[in-house]
């Protein structure tokens, strides 16, 4: 059996609930390293949450960033990741 990241999402626009603070990002890449869902992608000198639609909303990126460059909010009500069998 292979680990299959089977994740369900509510329909609807989550809004841009994770952003990068371009001034603070040093491009260290810890956000990408600790993101299991490959949300963070290198773009020039910094990282951006380009694959936000794949986010599982765990918050590892916000917690791990030493430079306070991750702005971590919340998806709009009733949107975003939906877990079953939790």
């Amino acid at each position: 059996m292979k680990v299959d990241m089977k994740v369900d999402y509510y329909p609807g626009d989550t809004g841009e609930f994770i952003k990068v603070d371009e001034e603070k990002c040093t491009g260290c890449g810890d956000c990408a390293k600790f993101c299991t869902r490959n949300v963070w992608v290198k773009d020039g000198e910094i990282y951006r949450p380009k694959n936000l639609k794949d986010c599982a909303e765990c918050g590892a990126c916000w917690n791990i960033c030493d430079f306070d460059a991750v702005i971590f909010g919340e998806p709009k009500g009733g949107t975003g990741v939906r877990f079953e069998f939790g």
Binding site: M1, M5, V7, G77, F83, F85, G86
Partner: protein
């Protein structure tokens, strides 16, 4: 007994900062606007519905806000309710909820390249855990809060707090609605936006945060019965975890598998690039592979667990509960009972604050923490976790494996906690430590064996359901 819960400074002068916009007189309830409440609870996981239900039962006007469409659908884990906690009179009603499986046994496997050691432990004559599905259980619990009189709004995300003169007086939702409360109870989880905005929840990593992944595998009820029965399973194997304990908990027709590790520099190394790699190694272990044969991955999940308390759980008009307040012991896989207890205690502390017209952080803390410090379950689990975690964080993997074997043979973490204190006391000629161990041993006696009495309570509650 030594615990890390802060002691309460009872004589500290209380400062009250009543907000201009909020009336503190109960008689004014009738004149409250539609957006004004006695208590606003944010988050309908474990702590939130417990708090809302209790507050409503105490006659308060309560609003419970939840970001998901159905409570529990944002919760990845928290899969088994501990009967040692559920026998507490405050929590007994929770036995009436939707239960997936009644757990009566525990198996622990030590797996090294050379051999596999299996220890079967049956720590109780009766039930030890109740396995639940959070998307069913939290939804049921929220209905219970509603029945008690709490107003519930789903699909409603709290985006911000409202502060007046430095005091939190309300919350703003994603649609821009403002709700005002005399007390705000934060039950919004490990990364709660309320606790963060209030400056109480810091960033955490290293030995203070665990990154965990969950795999739910569908096997069908008959196969789960046959291969897993009513037992939970713990494993310690090569490259299957980072200083934590992978586990498999059976539900009705699926099993939930969890593994991951502390978010330090060694979480990812060598072939391990993600927590999914630990999971893959785990389900590839022959003993597990066999048990999952023919199964289908039904759902995958990912979450963080905070493994150190936040320094302060209260601010004027605000109480942090459950994971938001750091009331979780991921090391022991315990979080739901702590959330349930702290939700109830927060509602009681808030009711006292309204009664006394004192909404200061100090007043709330005194009434909140005094209940926690009297709670045998919470105190003993913190003690067990502290001592065992200290051992594990300081050891290389091989030594952990050896220690784990001793722990397993010696009867688990409880024995290890007692043994650690006792031996350290003996070695250092510190009778205080020995006394500590003895006090703890006495303290946990009622909880060491959740026996026939708990089964009777369970039967009674199920009959009342």
């Amino acid at each position: 007994m030594r615990t890390k819960f802060p002691t309460i400074r009872r004589n500290e002068k209380r400062k009250t900062q009543p907000s201009q916009n909020i009336t503190n007189n109960k008689k004014d309830d009738l004149s409250m606007g539609n957006s004004e409440y006695d208590i606003i609870v944010v988050g309908a996981g474990c702590a939130g519905p417990a708090a809302a239900k209790k507050a409503a039962e105490l006659g308060l006007k309560v609003l419970l806000l939840e970001k998901s469409q159905k409570p529990g659908e944002k919760n990845v884990s928290g899969t088994c309710l501990n009967m040692a906690a559920l026998v507490d009179p405050d929590l007994q009603y929770l036995m009436k909820g939707p239960i997936e499986r009644e757990i009566t046994e525990m198996h622990t496997y030590m797996i090294t390249p050379e051999r596999t050691t299996m220890m079967r432990e049956t720590p109780s004559e009766g039930l030890i855990l109740l396995s639940v599905r959070r998307d069913e259980y939290d939804a049921w619990h929220t209905e219970e809060a509603k029945k008690a009189g709490a107003e519930v709004k789903l699909s409603t995300t709290v985006m911000d707090i409202i502060e007046e003169n430095g005091t939190i007086t309300g919350v703003v939702t994603d649609s821009g609605e403002k709700y005002f409360g005399k007390v705000i109870i934060d039950a919004a989880g490990v990364n709660s936006i309320i606790g963060r905005k209030a400056g109480l929840i810091p960033k955490r990593k290293g030995d203070k945060m665990i990154l965990y992944t969950i795999l739910n595998v569908w096997l069908g009820e008959e196969v789960v019965n046959e291969r897993f029965g009513n037992s939970i399973y713990y494993f310690l194997g090569p490259n299957t975890q980072h200083k934590t304990w992978p586990w498999i908990f059976p539900k009705k027709d699926v099993v939930t598998i969890g593994t991951g590790g502390y978010m330090d520099d060694d979480l990812f190394k060598g072939d391990i690039k993600s927590v999914n790699d630990y999971m893959q190694n785990l389900i590839d272990l022959p003993i597990i592979k066999e048990k999952l044969e023919g199964g289908k991955v039904e759902a995958w999940g990912l979450h963080l667990e905070f493994d150190e308390e936040v320094e302060k759980r209260t601010k004027d008009r605000l109480i942090l509960t459950g994971e938001a307040g750091g009331f979780v012991i991921p090391f022991l896989g315990e979080g739901m009972p702590e959330a349930l207890f702290t939700g109830i205690y927060a509602a009681e502390a808030a009711a006292k604050a309204i009664e006394a017209n004192d909404f200061s952080a100090e007043f709330l803390e005194e009434h909140f923490m005094s209940r926690i410090n009297e709670n045998v379950f919470m105190q003993s689990f913190r003690y067990i976790a502290d001592l065992n975690k200290k051992s594990i964080m300081s050891m290389p993997d091989q030594e952990i494996a050896a220690m784990m074997q001793n722990v397993v043979i010696g009867g688990g973490f409880i024995s290890n906690a007692i043994h650690t204190s006792w031996m350290k006391g003996a070695e250092e000629d510190d009778m205080g430590l020995v006394q500590d161990a003895k006090d703890f041993y006495d303290l946990i006696q009622p909880y060491r064996q959740v026996g026939s009495e708990s089964v009777e309570i369970y039967k009674k509650m199920r009959a009342e359901k």
